[in-house]
Symmetry: C2
Subunit: 205 residues, 2 copies
């Protein structure tokens, strides 16, 4: 019997995972933990589920507890993957801030357990526990800094270097994600990724 089919046990495990993550930023009071649990924000999705489509308005923010989410665009009929979010990965689609319909899709690469938040419940939590504002600011600043660094890496690297960087930084993705999605994520075609791998084998890497 898979873990995903034991709802109560899973829920406890996921809650603990979330609290462990948050505790890196600030220790939580029992009262605060309870308030989080009461929000009932854990969602379970099957592999392939599309959480957000181009043209839709969404106010949902995502925090991945287990599994893998993917962001992608469809440009000239082609999927262009721009991000993978795995355990402890957090993100909010641009449309929340811009208040425009989404330009990208979000789907599940694997069966996933996701914390889904929205501005209303954030507001509620900020009012009840002002410390949450601090948590969200720190988290958002950290995500921004990391994203800037990752963008810089991408800009200053060749496709081959980007492949090696990714292998180093997120080796798990190569076990979890189809090659053609990884190729797209690296900004190249699947054929190019095949060639790069071959080239590196010849070079003995």
């Amino acid at each position: 019997m898979s873990n995903l089919s034991k709802p109560k046990l899973i829920k406890k495990t996921m809650e603990n995972e979330l609290f462990t993550f948050i505790s890196k930023y600030m220790p939580l009071l029992e009262e605060e933990k309870k308030a989080i649990i009461d929000l009932d924000i854990f969602r379970s999705y099957k592999k392939g589920t599309v959480l957000l489509k181009e043209g839709e308005f969404s106010r949902d923010g995502y925090f991945v507890l287990k599994g893998c989410l993917r962001c992608y665009y469809i440009i000239d009929g082609e999927e262009k993957t721009t991000a993978f979010y795995t355990e402890s990965g957090a993100f909010a689609p641009l449309c929340i801030v811009s208040n425009k319909p989404s330009e990208h899709y979000v789907d599940c690469v694997e069966d996933s357990l996701i914390l889904v938040s929205n501005p209303d419940m954030e507001k509620e939590m900020f009012e009840k526990f002002p410390r949450f504002q601090v948590l969200c600011r720190l988290l958002s600043e950290e995500l921004l800094a990391k994203n800037l660094a990752s963008y810089d890496d991408f800009k200053t690297s060749s496709p081959e270097q980007r492949y090696l960087n990714l292998l180093e930084a997120r080796p798990d993705l190569f076990q979890r994600v189809p090659q053609h999605q990884l190729a797209s994520y690296l900004g190249i075609t699947p054929q190019s990724l095949s060639r790069i791998r071959k080239r590196l084998v010849v070079k003995g890497k």
Copy 2:
């Protein structure tokens, strides 16, 4: 007599520019404006001034009131430009969050007027005016969303498309920044940028 040499007048103008920017997020009380002014955070730098070097620790955050800042790396002796910040552009180097020495440089592309903040004065402001926490969270969330979108654009575009995108999104940069820095920013060599421009003229664009 240039504006930069009339300190008092400039200071007033810059303060107003800052307050206009902030008012898009929340109206400020006079008391709050005064507290900001009292922090004495406006700095003026000459073109070419290097604000941050590789290997240095910095706790400074920047908000550009006038002028242009550039972030760049030196990789194998080559400058790789990854960002330009112009009027109302804000950023904090990764080293604040990571607590590691900076991997990049920051310099002034033009004579610039910059608001320079640091975590200590932020903390002071957060304590005096808790609303500042909200402002910083909103700002940081917006910057994150914009940066994600910009990263997505870069990943899903060819060098030629990126050039056209930049021409559309930030035409002023082409008047303010040397071509070879723009080329680097676009992830290509100056020679390639020259070729792209030529190609587009032939195509009649």
